[in-house]
Amino acid sequence: MRFNKVLTVLLSMLLVVSLLGGCSSSKPAEAPKTEAPKAEAAKTEAPKAEEKKAAGKMYIPVISKGFQHQFWQAVKMGAEKAAKQYDVEITFEGPESEAQVDKQIEMLEAALAKKPAAICLAALDSKAAIPLLEKAKAANIPVVGFDSGVDSEIPVATASTDNAKAAGYAADKMAELIGGKGEVALVVHDQTSATGVGRRDGFANRIKEKYPDIKIVDIQYGGGDHLKSTDVAKTIMQAHPNLKGIFGSNEGSAIGVLNAVNELKKDGKIVVIGYDAGKQQKDAVKSGKINGSITQDPVGIGFKAVEAAVKAAKGEKIEKNIDTGFKWYDKTNMDGEEFKPLLYD
């Protein structure tokens, strides 16, 4: 009984809060134009930032797909850099695993309730987030997608790596390194997210289109879990003794492939191409055990997402698709100055 009372009180409080949050969408911000024309991102925000300061700092929640992974820590670094530069307040949060779509939705709900100036979101599942995004749109809160982005018309901009393009480049490199023919396989981190699907298809399609003599014999998923990816990669190598190369689609997958090569003593016999960075992967690229990897620019992703959110909140025009780029690194070029901020530990 007592528990019921407490529950009732809590529920009614929640109701009041959500009502308040829902009704008082009295943000002055002008409705951001969804169809912002490309290019010409105005670069004169300095004086405007001053104005905002007087009225209290702008608040922008950044909701990522995770926070534990080194990649997300680098995104966070970039987001914080932008927050400092534009003098806005940000929070950075994300669910513990990339399967927790529900947790992320809760975070988004909570963020919306705080009536932010804008929201940055890397959706785990775009479709699941759409009702909330519509709510944000109705409340004139601009949404900026980052990383895998949000598959909808609502976000005013998306700061991301073109996964398919980057993976296609990895396929070109794979073809070059194995001499244009033979069997290759993929260890992918998942089969539902935009990054997983984009990288898998980007790689596979390029092989199919350009390299008729290369056969993709297997595509398996390791969930980005280092240990599972190791066993997945080992099994693939056992099943296909003539395998020439493997592509690991993110850090955990690439490390899994690397471990498998080590454990089966296939160094030098199998071409390994990775994705992202991380200390182990960097060391392996340096020693040549991984022939090369694609790196995104996580710091840039975080920075550009917050930058776009600030501009959108002020009603400035921004580019719809902000390509944050990718780079190929191997032992010959990875010590270059340009890679320092990209190759996180």
Partner: protein, 328 residues
């Protein structure tokens, strides 16, 4: 379940049938996959399967004891991670010698087990809840302590050899069985001796069959229960060492979900969740069934979605077979 007092006799008999049943299942899978793919039954692949079983197997060994007492431990996956992180702290951060780091990691796991035992016996919190709490605590602590970053063992190349090195291979050329496998088998033999030959094992079964009767016959139930959870924690610690040494790093974000695989292995091996029965050999067979299944389906390039479905079906069938056998 069984009559509380008459523990030994019906147990032995049902154990034998269960072992046979599970073992037959394992053989069936082996033969099936060997026929389906020429790449399955090869020395390297068999070694891969055994190596892939080690972490899950050691976790399953530990949790077998707990399940036989009719308890449950949901914290095993994250306690494993916590132990791995702690050994990383000892070895990489504090630069302690590797053996101390290993013992420290195992003790960290055991410490979590003690806390589980105390919350269950003294605070009277049901095992499901207290170990669920411990699951979250250790998961969070692993991230806090490691600073959400993996801890690498790059300065201690020997650490990696614990799992993937091969003492056997260095003695007998070509017989490259990784050390992790030997450690796993040793851990299994110890578990089997503890369960069948010692007073700890007897009380484990007694607690699971009838806790009240055990208490009334003058056994210090709280002490033995706590000991059993501690033992389980220590096994998680060992699993943590094996995992981190294989990955050459303590990955603080891994671990959750591993507990369910381990519990599934125990159950497939014929240990009843209502307690009082179970064998170590059953657990090992259960763990092997799971990894043979995953390996075989992967070799056949069955899409991963279906692999999960099939594993689920096998789990249900295995437990159903057990129930049917029991009714007879």
């Amino acid at each position: 379940m069984e009559l509380g007092m008459n523990l030994k006799k019906p147990l032995l008999k049902s154990d034998a049938t269960q072992k046979l049943l599970a073992f037959a299942g394992l053989i069936f899978l082996f033969v099936g996959f060997s026929l389906a793919s020429p790449n399955f039954f090869k020395f390297d692949n068999i070694v891969s399967i055994i190596l892939a079983t080690c972490v899950n197997g050691v976790l399953a060994l530990g949790v077998s004891f707990v399940i036989i007492t009719s308890g449950i431990d949901l914290s095993i996956g994250t306690v494993m991670t916590f132990s791995a992180v702690m050994s990383g702290v000892f070895i990489t951060f504090m630069k302690l010698p590797i053996p101390i780091g290993i013992i420290g990691g195992i003790l960290a796991g055991a410490a979590c087990g003690i806390v589980n035992g105390v919350t269950i016996t003294k605070m009277k919190i049901p095992p499901f809840i207290s170990t669920l709490g411990m699951m979250m605590i250790t998961k969070g602590l692993s991230l806090v302590i490691s600073g959400t970053k993996p801890i690498y063992f790059n300065d201690s190349p020997f650490y990696r050899q614990i799992s993937v090195g091969s003492i056997l291979g260095s003695m007998i050329p070509g017989f490259e069985i990784p050390n992790a496998v030997l450690i796993f088998f040793a851990a299994a033999i110890i578990a089997s001796i503890l369960l069948t030959k010692t007073v700890l094992g007897r009380y484990t079964f007694a607690l699971g069959s009838n806790e009240e009767a055990t208490r009334l016959s003058g056994v210090n139930v709280n002490f033995w229960k706590t000991t059993i959870y501690t033992l389980c924690g220590a096994y998680c610690g060992l699993a943590g060492i094996l995992m981190s040494s294989r990955l050459n790093s303590a990955q603080p974000a891994l671990g959750q979900g591993y507990e369910l695989d381990a519990i599934a292995a125990v159950v497939i091996g014929g240990t009843s969740l209502s307690g009082g029965e179970g064998t170590i050999i059953g657990t090992i067979i259960g763990a092997f069934i799971m990894s043979v299944l995953t390996n075989g389906l992967r070799i056949l390039s069955v899409p991963q979605e279906w692999q999960t479905v099939i594993t689920g079906v096998i789990l249900i069938l295995a437990v159903y077979a057990d129930i049917v056998r029991r009714k007879k």
